[in-house]
């Protein structure tokens, strides 16, 4: 009795199933004292439903056949299996996401600056008369010049500033 209690205690304190399994294999399965504390195969059978207890199973095959037929018909209509469909949807979602990210990056990185900046957004020189300034001097010194045309306007503003 003391032996069984000791073994039972050791079994309980072992932290891993692998260790418990080792104890079971190497001691408890062979020890008559320990086996006494377990229900036998014959006793267990008395508790369990046996093959002879399951009764009539004639309905099983027709219902399986019917379901297999239904699934086959569904399969013909929709030849793709569920996992294949799921894979396809995942791929489609990934492709759409990549396209959206690419579009966003393209928009933010390569967008044109607003046309209200000096000379860049205006009409091309071929379309309008060209304004050219060869040089501007202030106090006999070369000056900084800016030519600015507001959007939708014919006014051209020429700005000259002294170099500091």
């Amino acid at each position: 009795m003391g032996h069984s209690i000791l073994i039972d205690f050791i079994y309980r304190i072992l932290p891993f199933r692998a260790w418990k399994g080792w104890l079971l294999r190497n001691h408890m399965e062979g020890c008559p004292g320990c086996r006494k504390r377990l229900v036998s195969r014959e006793e267990a059978r008395l508790l369990l439903v046996q093959v002879g207890d399951v009764g009539d199973l004639d309905r099983l095959w027709p219902s399986i056949k019917e379901k297999l037929g239904e699934k086959a018909k569904k399969g013909e209509k929709n030849s793709m299996s569920k996992p294949a469909m799921a894979k396809m949807w995942r791929l489609a979602a990934a492709a759409v996401t990549v396209l959206l990210i690419a579009a966003a990056v393209n928009f933010w990185l390569f967008r044109k600056p607003r046309p209200d900046t000096p000379l860049q957004g205006g009409p091309s020189p071929a379309e309008t008369e060209q304004v050219q300034i060869h040089y501007v001097k202030i106090d006999n010194e070369p000056a900084q010049t800016f030519i600015f045309q507001p959007r939708d306007s014919n006014i051209i503003i020429v700005w000259a500033g002294k170099n500091i």
């Binding site: 294999r25 046996q50 009764g55 199973l57």
Partner: protein, 182 residues
């Protein structure tokens, strides 16, 4: 070898050969399912789903392994699915009943009471313990074979089986019940 011949015939498009597989295993599969699930309707559903799944996945079966173990592994997982669904439903409806123990102490049982006693004792076990016990006692499985069905290590299967056997013994000792078949 017989199983593999039938599987080969099924894969060649002879679906009727599958009936032979169903006929061979339906009773033992049903017994295992009833032991795990505790009622006939759920067990029938689980068996049906299992055979359908097997038919649809026959091409993935590795002929070097045991077909019987593969079948029981699928059945075990279908039964777990049924139990999970039932648990979810029970949680939803909050109708959990705790059946009292002790009613079986030292009574003489008629067959119906014996059945109830068996069900009550089996309910003390986890689904994995019930499966391990059922395969070991009814089918004569070893711990290694049980581990193939439960998809765990042999040590773990041994622990499930040991726990099941010990829990039943303790329950019987506590309630002074016997499992005398006569």
């Amino acid at each position: 070898m017989e199983d593999n011949d039938w599987i080969t015939a099924c894969l060649r498009g002879n679906g009727e050969e599958f009936k032979k597989i169903v006929d061979k295993y339906k009773a033992s599969a049903m017994a295992v399912a009833m032991n795990i699930l505790g009622n006939r309707e759920d067990a029938e559903d689980a068996c049906q789903e299992t055979f359908i799944q097997i038919f649809r996945n026959l091409e993935h079966f590795d002929a070097r392994l045991s077909f019987r173990n593969w079948l029981y592994a699928i059945l075990f997982h279908r039964c777990l699915d049924v139990l999970k669904k039932k648990r979810r439903f029970r949680n939803l409806t909050s109708k959990v009943k705790n059946e009292s123990s002790g009613r079986f102490a030292t009574e003489a049982y008629n067959p119906e009471e014996k059945k109830q006693l068996s069900q009550h004792i089996l309910k003390q076990l986890s689904p994995k313990e019930r499966t391990a016990l059922c395969l070991w006692a009814n089918e004569g499985f070893t711990a290694v074979e049980v581990s193939e069905v439960l998809r765990c290590s042999a040590s773990t299967a041994r622990v499930y089986l040991f726990n099941a056997r010990r829990k039943i013994r303790q329950f019987l000792e506590k309630s002074h019940g016997t499992l005398d078949p006569h």
